[in-house]
């Protein structure tokens, strides 16, 4: 379990994290989302015990990170941003260093070591210098380091940043596999990752909590939630007809590809009505889609409406 209690961190006059209170339970995979500089990494660094909070505190498995830092750190597996490691060591040396610092008993350590190396497919590179590895492999070494002691709480700062799609998939599978009985907190700015991994999303901007919901709930906040979009050549007529449907609130046409999106009135379902109408009109529809809602739009809406109140012109324009 991870709890933060009005966790605050200031750098001079800048408040990077502002009274952040979150609670993550076992079994949850919480995605910490926010624009760059929102305070994601700073918040994680405080929970991991690298930075001291200016005020407030955090607990890992019930251990206060200020009063019982060693116990908190023992319960935590942490992948810092960029997965730093000692590049001059080989993968084996580096992982053995972690085993020793964590003081794992040798019989347990060997089993864990083999298990982790196998899970992250590091067998072939064990004897190689970390400096010579590709970015993806280095990320995997960082992940191995974080899960070596089988921690009940896992905190990963941008775990798939810079990986190719296959590697991303592998890392997500690994996290998924570990998710069952653990508490996992990952930070990311990839919205697809939220879909793939998280059962809960917290969005922060300017150090403040802006939203705390499931990915599905967030999608429902989107203007696009329940909208129907389709491509059909020569559909000028039908647009007018669609507009007359009682459930329809608005219609938009993409100026680039001519794709038409029909927005429902609040709480209405329009897929059937739209389909029926199109069939009656005898229009050839190449493809029709019911939109779940767009996370990127919700993300922008949440993080930039905040920016507007804080008066930053370039962000509100975007």
């Amino acid at each position: 379990m991870i709890e933060t209690e009005r966790l605050t961190r200031c750098y001079g006059s800048l408040t990077a994290v502002d009274a952040l209170s979150i609670r993550v339970e076992p079994g949850q995979v919480l995605g910490l989302l926010g624009p760059n500089g929102a305070g994601k990494s700073t918040a994680m660094r405080m929970v991991a015990g690298f930075l001291a909070p200016t005020s407030g505190t955090a607990r890992v498995c019930g251990y206060d990170v200020i009063r019982e830092p060693l116990k908190a750190k023992r319960a935590l597996g942490y992948l810092p941003e960029g997965a730093p490691s000692y590049g001059e060591l080989t993968v084996r040396e580096f992982l053995l260093f972690i085993v020793r610092v964590r003081g794992l008993k040798s019989d347990v350590a060997f089993r864990r070591f083999d298990d982790v190396v196998q899970r992250l497919q590091l067998e072939e590179v064990l004897g190689l210098c970390i400096d010579t590895l590709s970015k993806g492999l280095r990320r995997r070494v960082g992940l191995a380091q974080a899960i070596l002691h089988d921690p009940p709480v896992l905190m990963l700062d941008e775990p798939t940043d810079g990986l190719d799609p296959n590697q991303k998939h592998a890392v997500r599978q690994l996290i998924d596999m570990m998710a069952r009985d653990r508490t996992i907190l990952i930070s990311t700015h990839l919205l697809e990752e939220v879909h793939a991994l998280c059962n809960r999303v917290v969005i922060i901007a300017r150090g403040k909590l802006q939203a705390d919901a499931t990915p599905a709930e967030l999608e429902q906040r989107s203007r696009y939630h329940g909208a129907v979009s389709f491509s059909a050549p020569g559909s000028g007529m039908s647009q007018e007809m669609l507009g007359r449907l009682p459930q329809v609130a608005a219609i938009e046409v993409d100026p680039l590809d001519g794709r038409i999106t029909v927005f429902p009135k609040a709480g209405e379902r329009i897929l059937d009505a739209v389909e029926t109408l199109l069939r009656e009109q005898g229009l050839e529809v190449s493809e029709i889609q019911l939109e779940r809602g767009r996370l990127d739009e919700v993300f922008r809406q949440i993080t930039t409406s905040d920016a507007i109140t804080a008066a930053t012109p370039q962000e509100s324009r975007a």
């Binding site: 690298f50 200016t54 935590l76 942490y78 810092p80 730093p84 610092v101 003081g103």
Partner: protein, 244 residues
């Protein structure tokens, strides 16, 4: 203690997989040899002891120890591994101690590798081996103090160059503090008590006392307390970094 040992092993490993260790050892041994035999008039003195050998050590350490210690924390800060290290379950003290011990053991190894010079002097004459042993002990204690200073100042900055220069500067001040010329310079301006105090801070004075074979507890204490003091300062600096 396992955490201290782990940090120490890792640090030593890093010395030896990078050229740092070999470059250091070769330069240390070559310079120690050259300085002893040429600048120190090892043969011409006609005495069977290692006095000229040990006299060169403070100056060797002045250049070489900062080169070892400059990377100690500065590199970790810059490379981001500091975040990794400090989120592992170990205290700042354990991390500092592990790094310090690694460097201290390493200098110890360099000293052990100078044993041929001890064998030479035993072959040529009949030196007082007790004095020589004391010389080695004093030299190692002095190296420890240099390392502690370097460890502290390396925690101050993320630039290795700055760490090197600051360490060398502090060390040269501590070496020179007891020199007669320096004390004479302040003779008129500072009260006698202050000058005496400065003289007692001098590393050279305590080292020479030990190297002469006089094992005074006060001299040993001077080095021990210096090491502890600088290491505490280093840990406090690291802790300050977490809050700033």
């Amino acid at each position: 203690m396992t955490a201290v040992g782990a940090v120490m092993r890792r640090e030593l490993r890093s010395y030896f997989v990078t050229p740092v260790a070999y470059v250091f050892l070769v330069i240390f041994l070559v310079l120690a040899g050259i300085l002893t035999f040429y600048a120190g008039d090892f043969y011409e003195r006609g005495q069977a002891d290692l006095q000229p050998f040990f006299e060169m050590h403070p100056w060797l350490y002045l250049i070489l120890v900062p080169a070892i210690t400059m990377r100690m924390w500065a590199e970790e800060t810059k490379g981001g591994t500091l975040e990794l290290l400090l989120t592992l379950p170990l205290t700042l003290w354990q991390a500092m101690l592990g790094k310090f011990l690694a460097a201290w053991l390493f200098i110890g190894l360099a000293l052990v590798l100078t044993l041929p010079i001890w064998i030479t002097v035993n072959y040529l004459g009949a030196p007082d081996n007790g004095v020589i042993l004391a010389g080695y002990l004093g030299s190692w204690m002095m190296a420890g103090t240099f390392i502690a200073i370097g460890a502290c100042l390396s925690a101050l900055t993320r630039s290795q160059v700055v760490a090197f220069i600051l360490t060398a500067l502090v060390c040269v001040l501590l070496i020179l503090a007891g020199q007669q010329q320096v004390l004479d310079f302040f003779q008129g301006t500072l009260p006698r008590k202050v000058i005496n105090g400065v003289a007692h801070l001098s590393m050279l004075r305590h080292f020479e006392a030990i190297a002469r074979g006089v094992l005074d507890l006060r001299d040993l204490l001077y080095f021990a307390l210096s090491m502890i003091g600088w290491l505490i300062a280093g840990v406090l600096l690291l802790d300050l970094k977490r809050t700033r």
